[in-house]
Every structure is written in C-alpha cells, then in structure tokens.
C-alpha cells in the first residue's frame, strides 16, 4: 500500500475517520459529494481516499508487452483519479489536511476488491467505509457480483455508507 499525507493510522476505529472508496465512476463521484456535504466545516473528520487497482487480466493480452503497457496506463489513471477526487473534496470545502489518499492492489485472487477495501479499512483504523453503488440488476449481481453488496455483508466493527 502507498500512503500520502496519512491523517489516520492503525488503531481503534473512529467513525469520524472515513474510508472513501473511489474508482472514477459516477457512483463514486456521488459518494464524494455526499461525504463533502457532511465533512466540510465539521470538526474532527478525516477522509481517507482509497482506490483499489485491478490490473487488467494478463490473459486478455496476447503479448506481455501489450499487457505491461495497459498496466502502466492504468497506474497513471489511478493516480489521476485519486488526485481529482482529492481536488473535488477540497473544492467543496473539505480541509486539505483532512484528506489523505492511497491506492492498493488486491492481494487475493479474483481480484477481490471488496476484501481489499475492508483490509484497507482495518489498516487505516477508519470507522466508516463509504462507497457508491452501481445499481446492478439481480442477474448481474448473481453473475458478476457487487462490491458494495459484499462490503455491506462482510464488514465488521465499522459503519458502511452506500451512496445511491
């Protein structure tokens, strides 16, 4: 895990320390705006922005070089979207020093994004997890799964906000 301007660390979970998972989607943007609306001007809050990088499947590419290029492009996108998310919070009145960012690569097969979010939550000591919801159909949830659904189901010792 790489962490910048860490405002929170391992220790007891504090519900005012928010772990906000972002992926550049519209759902994540809604979650960002929701968090900004609560945190801006409110004392004692911190926001830990998390992006879970899921490298493209190696098997998707015929050649190693093409895969590495795609991975590098994704790394650049990850850095850019975390930067943009931080800017968005600050523009909406959240104190810059209250925002930290990190991106992780999930360690589990799949890769399991929900598990990576919950592990990051534990590591940062955040007491609240915030994420947007795609609003997938039942069939899609069955076939492909749902990160927010799994986070809600498997979260322990913390609060989860799912922003529609």
């Amino acid at each position: 895990m790489t962490t910048k301007n860490a405002a929170s660390g391992p220790g007891a979970a504090n519900e005012r320390h928010l772990l906000l998972a972002v992926d550049g989607s519209e759902n994540a943007a809604r979650a960002l705006d929701y968090v900004a609306g609560i945190v801006a001007g409110a004392p004692g809050f911190s926001v830990h922005l998390l992006h879970v990088r899921t490298p493209p499947e190696r098997d998707l590419f015929a050649a190693e070089g093409a895969w590495r290029t795609a991975c590098a492009a994704q790394d650049e996108r990850a850095a850019a979207l975390l930067h943009a998310a931080r800017e968005r919070l600050v523009e909406r009145g959240v104190e810059p020093e209250a925002v930290s960012v990190c991106d992780v690569r999930p360690a589990h097969p799949g890769p399991d994004v929900a598990r990576a979010i919950l592990e990051a939550r534990q590591e940062t000591g955040c007491g609240t997890v915030v994420l947007g919801r795609r609003g997938v159909s039942k069939a899609q949830e069955f076939l492909c799964g749902s990160v927010s659904g799994k986070v809600v189901r498997e979260a322990r010792d913390c609060t989860v906000w799912v922003v529609e």
């Binding site: 899921t54 493209p56 499947e57 190696r58 098997d59 998707l60 015929a62 097969p109 799949g110 890769p111 399991d112 994004v113 929900a114 159909s137 039942k138 069939a139 899609q140 949830e141 069955f142 076939l143 492909c144 799964g145 749902s146 990160v147 799994k150």
Partner: protein, 316 residues
Amino acid sequence: MQPPSARPVILRFRPDSSGPFGTLYTDTSDFMRITSGDVIRLGDAHYLVARDEMERKFGLEDPKFWVKRCRWLEGDEPRILKLVFHETFTQRLGQVEISCYRSGHKEARILDLVRGDPRFMQGFTLPDAAGNLVRVLEVIRGQRLDDVIDRIEDDHETYFHTRYPALLEKYLGACAAIGFLHRHGEKHGDVRNDHVWVESDTGAFRWIDFDYGYDHQPSPFGLDIFGLGNVLLLLTGKGFHTVQDLIDRFDDLGLEPADFSLVFRHRLVNLQRLFPYIPDTLSRVLLHFSQGAEVFYETVDELLDDLGPCLAALGR
C-alpha cells in the same frame, strides 16, 4: 519460403501410406492453412493432422479451425492440438454482457496445475518455431454429459430414483474440481454441459477446455458457479424444461416467474413443481439459481455444503 512437404516424415513412420501428403509446419500461426495430411512438428514430435475439430451447437456442427485432431506419429496415438487463437469478445447471458477472451496462456497454466488429476483433461504445452504455445491434449474416450443424459430412455421418476444419485455424486466431484481451480486463483471460464465429458470405461466426469476467461468481476468465480448451476439443472431435470414446453400446464403446475432461471428466464429451475418427489434440500439448492433467489452462491464450497445433505436424502 515454401514450407517443405510432409511426405518424407509421413513415409518414415508409415511406409505404406498412400497420403494425402501435405506440408510440414513448424510455425502454426496461420492455422487456417493447416489441414488434413499436413504434419505439425513441435520439438522432436510430429503430429499428422486428420481434421479440424467440430463444436456442435443447436444441432449444427461448427468447425474449430484452431483445434486439430491429429495422430502423434512417434507414439501412434491420437492427440488433439490446440493452436493459438487469441480473441476477445462480448458474451451475452440473458440481459448481461460479459467481456470474454480466449487465451492459450491460461489453458497452458491450468494444464500444468491439473497434471495427473483425473477430474480434468490431460495434456502439455509445446512452443512452435514462432513461440506459439501449442497445447497437446490426450483424447478422452467418452461422451459429452448432455449427450449421456439425452440418451437415457427412462422416464424421469425412474431415472431420478435409479441413475440420478450416482450422477449427483459424480457432479459433486466435478464441482470440487472447479473449487480446486478457484483456490489456485484460476477460473474454468466456460463451465457448460458439453465441457464435462463422461469417460466410457470409468464413468468419471472430466472437465475439458480451459482457454476461455472473462475480465475481472467483483465476484470473480460467479460465472463458473452459474455454469455449475446449469449442469445441476440438466442432471436433475434429465434435460432442460422451458416455458415453451410447459405452456399448456402453466396454471396447473402453479408456475410463476420466480420458478424460472435468473439468467435464462425461459428455463424452469423450480423442478419440484414438475417432479414433486425431488427432495426439499435439493430443491432449495436449485432455487438459488432462480429469479426468486435473494442470496447467491459465491463459492463452490457454499454450493457443496448445501448439496452434501441432498446425497443423504437420496440414500447415498
């Protein structure tokens, strides 16, 4: 430069051969050109091509130009050679679109992983002169599972009480095999009724074709588990039962949308409506794949945990 003739190689192993004598290939990139009578050389091994393999869908045979039925000349045994055909495509399952791909690397990796495991097809990978990973597969003597079920002439009740328990037991073994792949971070990628072969002499279920994959999903193994549900449905129903088949009995059977598949919405999942002797334990497992389901299986172990008591309910 024109590739050399395969004639000297074929006559070395089969002096009485009258042909056809095609071309000797060491580079299989242009697999469409490779045909009956050609020889593919991989390292020191020579494979005489007999024909392209066919895939049967909806009663039609579709040639798979990148899969060659061959004779391994040194060993005088049949082999299937899968040549590299990398493609990406979108697969539609009901209303859901999934990004899929075909990858020789993936299949090569899984062949290494399952070497010696009789629950899977066996083979190894050899690079050709251009570096293409050619998979050299042993031929399974047997039939596709759906063909086996289709040829059983018993009525459903007789089938269910006599043959089904043993088939279900084998199905559980096949599920455990897929669970083994998942534990090693691999997906089968194309779990279908015709990708389980039933070996003639042992009756064992064996998985084939590991080259399909799909892009990352929040539930990484969801598609494999969906496929396992379809296999269970075929086995339990002795074939599939659709809205079209049941249209005249809809009201009598008390059927409603929740009884049908979540993905293939015309396919009956609540088979207990049709066959009331199906035990509740088994019916509950099937209903996890229905439109009425609220909770889905995420791992093979969850499915196996629920199926274990079904075997007991069937006297196994």
